[in-house]
């Protein structure tokens, strides 16, 4: 029998063997990127810091201008999300042959379109809307 016409059982056995030899990483079954105690602690302290600063800034009113404060705490949120992605969710460009990263990038694009689009469109709708009193007066 040539290997092209091997029985399904043989094919399974061969493949299983093959996977152990080199194919395991390709399937992402070998979760080497699990982090260490050190990396978890590092991520934890970073996220504590990135949480504490915005809370402190808002609770003490450290920023006089609300829009500056909003920008700063948004920046901290983005940084903290990146920290969580790297240290807790173990995101990298190599896991699952890069498909997790692809899915993440696609999702981020959709999230940005959804959020900025909705807020942008609805803000203009609201400002262009006829005031209730004017509608009553007509």
């Amino acid at each position: 029998m040539t290997d092209r016409h091997a029985t399904p059982h043989d094919a399974h056995a061969e493949h299983a063997h093959d996977d152990h030899a080199h194919g395991h990483d390709d399937h992402g079954n070998d979760h080497a990127s699990h982090g260490t105690r050190g990396s978890y602690l590092k991520g934890f302290f970073l996220s504590v810091l990135l949480t504490a600063v915005p809370f402190w800034a808002v609770m003490t009113g450290a920023f006089k201008d609300p829009s500056t404060a909003a920008l700063v705490i948004m920046l901290f949120a983005v940084l903290q999300i990146i920290v969580h992605m790297i240290y807790f969710l173990h995101m990298n460009t190599k896991s699952e042959n890069g498909w997790t990263m692809m899915a993440l990038i696609f999702t981020i694009i959709l999230v940005v379109i959804t959020l900025s689009g909705s807020i942008w469109v609805m803000y203009h709708m609201n400002t262009n809307m006829m005031p209730m009193q004017a509608a009553v007066d007509m």
Partner: protein, 214 residues
């Protein structure tokens, strides 16, 4: 297949009939695609939250003469809540490390701590919701409060599901030990739990902190 030369009789060099398709499905080891599939689920869950955030972003300033965020949000309580979720994330991380080392009892202990912190988070959130509703700032009061309760409530529902899942897995591990299937489930829950923490970053930033700035 590229070197196969076509012959008139439809046989290749070895005299086998030519086939232009794979007879056997490509074999995957059991559970090999679970992690990627679960990641896809998390990404689609992310879109659910994106829509709820967008709804809050649009409706968040429609108070209908009712209370404003500044009047009803208690930031110290939210800070404690955030701490609970952060602690539960690090204890889950330690549980995963113990799992890798194959130390089941220590892993179970860390999982118990994770569940405890999760329960604290949920209790504080329930207390906050109960207080708000009692003060007359329930979800029916204004568009702002409707979108607030929907967004934060959906997150809370996810944490509740995560907690139930956590308890289920602790029982599973106690019964069957750290078998490959249980390890895979624990990894999925790990992603789920950390993902919920990421969503919470968005919640406390956009809802609570920015609400208190207005």
């Amino acid at each position: 297949m590229s070197s196969v030369s076509l012959k008139k009789d439809g046989l290749d060099e070895k005299g086998e009939p030519l086939s232009f398709y794979q007879l056997e499905e490509h074999h995957h080891p059991e559970g090999s695609s679970t992690m990627l599939g679960f990641w896809m689920y998390l990404m689609s869950d992310c879109l659910i939250f994106a829509v709820l955030f967008a709804a809050y972003g649009v409706l968040g300033s429609s108070y209908a003469g009712g209370p404003t965020p500044k009047e009803i949000f208690e930031l110290p309580l939210v800070a404690v809540n955030t701490a609970m979720l952060l602690f539960s994330s690090i204890t889950y991380g330690f549980a995963m490390l113990s799992m890798e080392e194959g130390r089941q009892r220590i892993m179970q202990m860390w999982l118990a701590f994770t569940g405890l912190f999760g329960l604290c988070f949920l209790s504080i959130e329930m207390y906050e919701f109960a207080t708000l509703i009692h003060e007359g700032a329930g979800p029916t009061r204004s568009a702002f409060l409707s979108s607030f309760f929907t967004l934060v409530g959906t997150h809370g529902l996810h944490v509740t599901m995560g907690f139930i899942w956590l308890v289920t897995l602790m029982v599973q591990v106690q019964k069957h030990g750290l078998i490959a299937a249980n390890k895979r489930r624990l990894m999925c829950l790990s992603m789920f739990w950390h993902f919920l923490d990421v969503i919470w970053i968005g919640v406390f930033t956009f809802v609570y902190l920015m609400g208190s700035l207005r």
